[in-house]
């Protein structure tokens, strides 16, 4: 009898696990707002896009090699006004980066444009050749050479392009 009970428990545990697995969604970043082609970047698919490496210190004081997609490339893919289109009223646009814990920071759109700056801002999905640690990823903004890490947003879930009012 005890044997059957144990087997039954295993079946239920397996079912519960299967249900949990089917309800889990892959992490993603939604790129939306003032964009003609908004899209959702899903975690495994991000690895297929061209990557750039940025080296910067983290809170542990050590240099790390972050691999990721240049944010302006993602914005161009979403149809955001960059390059020759970033002028006039479009210079009043900003980018709000949102994290899963509700944290929000903004960048002026021009801070991300290659014609304005050589500083790389990437949406990283790797650190030192591995996926980002659980508490940081799967997506994290990495701002090259910025002294404080406060805008290196962890667990990014959204990038919204908005007009300042």
């Amino acid at each position: 009898m005890k044997k059957y009970f144990f087997a039954l428990c295993l079946v239920f545990a397996g079912l519960a696990n299967a249900v949990a697995q089917t309800t889990e969604k892959p992490a993603s970043v939604k790129i939306s707002g003032e964009a003609t082609a908004p899209f959702e970047l899903k975690y495994p698919e991000a690895g297929l896009l061209p990557h750039t490496t940025v080296i910067r210190k983290d809170r542990d004081g050590k240099d790390h090699r972050y691999g990721g997609i240049i944010v302006s490339d993602l914005l161009l893919k979403a149809g955001v006004t960059l390059g020759k289109d970033l002028k006039g009223e479009n210079l009043t646009k900003y980018v709000m980066v949102e994290a899963s814990d509700g944290y929000q920071v903004i960048f002026a759109l021009a801070e991300l444009d290659k014609e304005f700056t050589d500083r790389a801002i990437i949406l990283a999905d790797e650190m030192d050749g591995k996926p980002l640690p659980a508490g940081d990823g799967p997506f994290r903004i990495i701002v090259q050479d910025e002294k404080k890490p406060a805008r290196c947003v962890k667990q990014v879930t959204g990038i919204r392009i908005l007009f300042a009012r």
């Binding site: 899963s100 508490g135 940081d136």
Partner: protein, 372 residues
């Protein structure tokens, strides 16, 4: 301890008439006067008022009556004010409130203070505005259990509301939408900004030595290599409002019984993640956490200091902060916990909890106590 015995409660229709006359215009032809929301400049102006529901004196008055209106519940025994009691900073002292069905609700009743600056409501942030938020407790079978349509019908049959609605909306028509909008307007006026901490920021209160040390610990992140001790509270409760609209798994359980935001997103990283609420009036809002598991602030400090449970979805802020080199927990000293708690008591705003503008209008309000 302040005497919390209620004064004699009497029905005072005369006060209602006076209030209505002061709030708006009986003929309903002119728009109601805007309600002046007073708050310190340091609170900032990132406030959340939808364009289709401006805060007006007449609207706030309707909302105040409705907030304490038991006819909004299916058994006429529960109002918003039943689970959000002013003396307790609009919480109710219970781990789980019971609604009309007598069964406990799923999560602890949250304190209502400074909602004007919130954009995501409930422990899991699922409501994007107070109007949307109010619909849930009104209609949920475990809370007030009545559809908005029935509520509107019941309210429309109560004579006192005709004039109030006309003042606020220009005609006497009662709708579910108008009910939730008025309640939201009233809730936006619940501003707590006159605690000893506010007066300290304004140069009008001198903290005790214990409070001062607690304030420093509250704001400091621990850096044992530089001999800086900290309680790291401001990482999630920072700023003058002690509220940053952040949502964390704060290590209550390694296997959370309540999945929190994960229920909404399906993302394992959101497992056990809940709102880090304001700490305004925190000494009045026990028990603590989304499930009311801690009865005292001492238990809360013990948790953060020594009992944070590791799990894959534990927020990073709890993973690496310690007052000991290579420490695995925050490791506050007993006297430091007392100092932090002393500072938390500085956030108690007695004028907020006795302000007659926030009380049940059916009662004669007591005069607010002078601030110490």
């Amino acid at each position: 301890m302040r005497d919390r015995k209620k004064s004699n409660v009497r029905v005072v229709p005369a006060i209602l008439c006076l209030a209505v006359c002061a709030a708006g215009f009986v003929d309903g032809t002119r728009p109601p006067a805007p309600y002046r929301l007073d708050y310190p400049p340091g609170f900032g102006n990132r406030i959340n008022i939808p364009a289709n529901n401006p805060t007006t004196q007449a609207g706030v008055l309707v909302g105040r009556w409705l907030f304490y209106e038991k006819a909004l519940s299916v058994n006429n025994r529960v109002s918003c004010g039943s689970c959000h009691v002013q003396e307790k900073a609009f919480s109710d002292g219970l781990a789980f409130s019971t609604g009309v069905g007598g069964t406990p609700v799923a999560r602890n009743s949250m304190s209502l203070a400074n909602l004007l600056w919130s954009r995501r409501f409930f422990w899991d942030g699922r409501a994007a505005g107070l109007e949307q938020q109010a619909v849930f407790p009104l209609t949920d079978p475990h809370e007030m259990g009545q559809s908005l349509a029935i509520s509107a019908r019941k309210i429309s049959m109560m004579p006192r509301y005709a004039l109030l609605f006309k003042q606020a909306y220009g005609d006497v028509r009662v709708t579910g939408e108008r009910i939730v909008k008025a309640i939201a307007q009233f809730e936006r006026t619940l501003i707590s900004a006159n605690s000893p901490y506010d007066r300290y920021l304004d140069g009008r209160y001198r903290p005790t030595a214990e409070e001062q040390k607690g304030l420093l610990l509250f704001n400091a992140a621990p850096e044992p290599t530089r001999a800086i001790r900290g309680a790291n509270c401001a990482r999630c409760h920072g700023g003058v409002k002690t509220y940053m609209e952040l949502f964390h798994n704060n290590g209550l359980d390694s296997l959370p019984g309540d999945a929190g935001i994960e229920k909404l997103t399906g993302l394992p990283g959101d497992r056990g993640r809940f709102k880090a609420p304001t700490l305004r009036n925190i000494a009045l809002t026990a028990p603590y956490m989304h499930d009311g598991r801690f009865n005292t602030l001492d238990e809360v400090l013990d948790h953060y200091s020594e009992h944070v449970k590791q799990s894959p979805s534990l927020s990073p802020v709890f993973r690496d902060a310690s007052n000991e080199p290579a420490g695995r927990n925050l490791a506050l000293r007993p006297e430091e916990k007392k100092q932090v708690i002393a500072f938390l008591h500085m956030l108690t705003d007695s004028t907020f909890t006795t302000d007659p503008r926030f009380s049940d209008p059916r009662t004669i309000p007591r005069k607010p106590k002078a601030a110490k």
